[in-house]
Symmetry: C2
Subunit: 131 residues, 2 copies
DNA sequence: CGTTCCGTTTACGTCAACGTCATCTCCCCT
DNA sequence: AGGGGAGATGACGTTGACGTAAACGGAACG
């Protein structure tokens, strides 16, 4: 329970990322490990954030977008104005995501059509050859 | 029937791309317009290929992947094996896209939750202030 | 004490898919 | 002859997310 802190190597192994990536995320202010001298010690907060970072990446968000979402998660929620701003940002992102989803749906539908066409042609060829 | 050939401007207008893009595709060997002196003349083959290129891009293929598919296609468009390979690749891509969409849906749901939470907090604050 | 690791900083390199100049050549119009 | 466009050819710029190399510091091992 005392050992909340992880070195960079442990982090890399735990999350399958490179040290360079972690330093890079820190430089972009997505992580803020504490320093023991010059070395980085990652807290449980850093680990939670990294998890979200990696998930965001899988979703196709840019690091900058992820940073904004992270800020949304932990920005001081006592100020109504701040909170209002962050929900605005969230709503924008949501709109983007939904339009992205729509585009993706369209592409999927189109690709399926193509696929069906291709398979049909293959089938026809096979019958020709067989005859 | 004689005027199979299009200048670069016509191509751009017809497909809504920039001249730079067309030259770039040519440099990457995705297109090979004939030359009248120094000028490019795009054939019907180029137009067919460009159509495929743009579709490929909508599907999220890289230009390099598209080039390979195009090459595969005119290596021998009558061979079933080639067509089969293409549909295999397409199916893989489709799977990727669908999993991507699933993740996106998940992310949208989470973000919506966050949003609802934020708005609820704002509402509560407002009532506090009003009281 | 020397070597081997792990870690740090600084800084330049990379890849994709073009955008954006800067120049240059032709051709047409008046 | 002068001007205006369209098109061509370099060649450098851009953005995002790191990779990679250089040069250094401290700890641990034998």
């Amino acid at each position: 329970m005392a050992d909340n802190l992880m070195g960079i190597r442990e982090m890399c192994d735990a999350f399958d990322v490179t040290p360079r990536a972690l330093r890079f995320y820190e430089s972009k202010e997505l992580l803020s490990p504490i320093r023991e001298g010059t070395r980085r010690l990652f807290t449980k907060r850093d680990r939670a954030r990294l998890k979200l970072i990696l998930r965001g990446k899988r979703f196709g968000f840019s690091l900058e977008e992820i940073r904004q979402l992270l800020d949304l998660y932990d920005e001081d929620p006592t100020q109504v104005t701040q909170l209002t701003r962050t929900t605005e940002i969230a709503r924008e992102r949501l709109a983007q995501m939904e339009s992205q989803r729509a585009e993706l749906d369209e592409a999927i539908a189109e690709l399926k059509e193509q696929l069906a066409w291709g398979e049909q042609v293959i089938e026809a060829r096979r019958r020709e050859t067989a005859a």
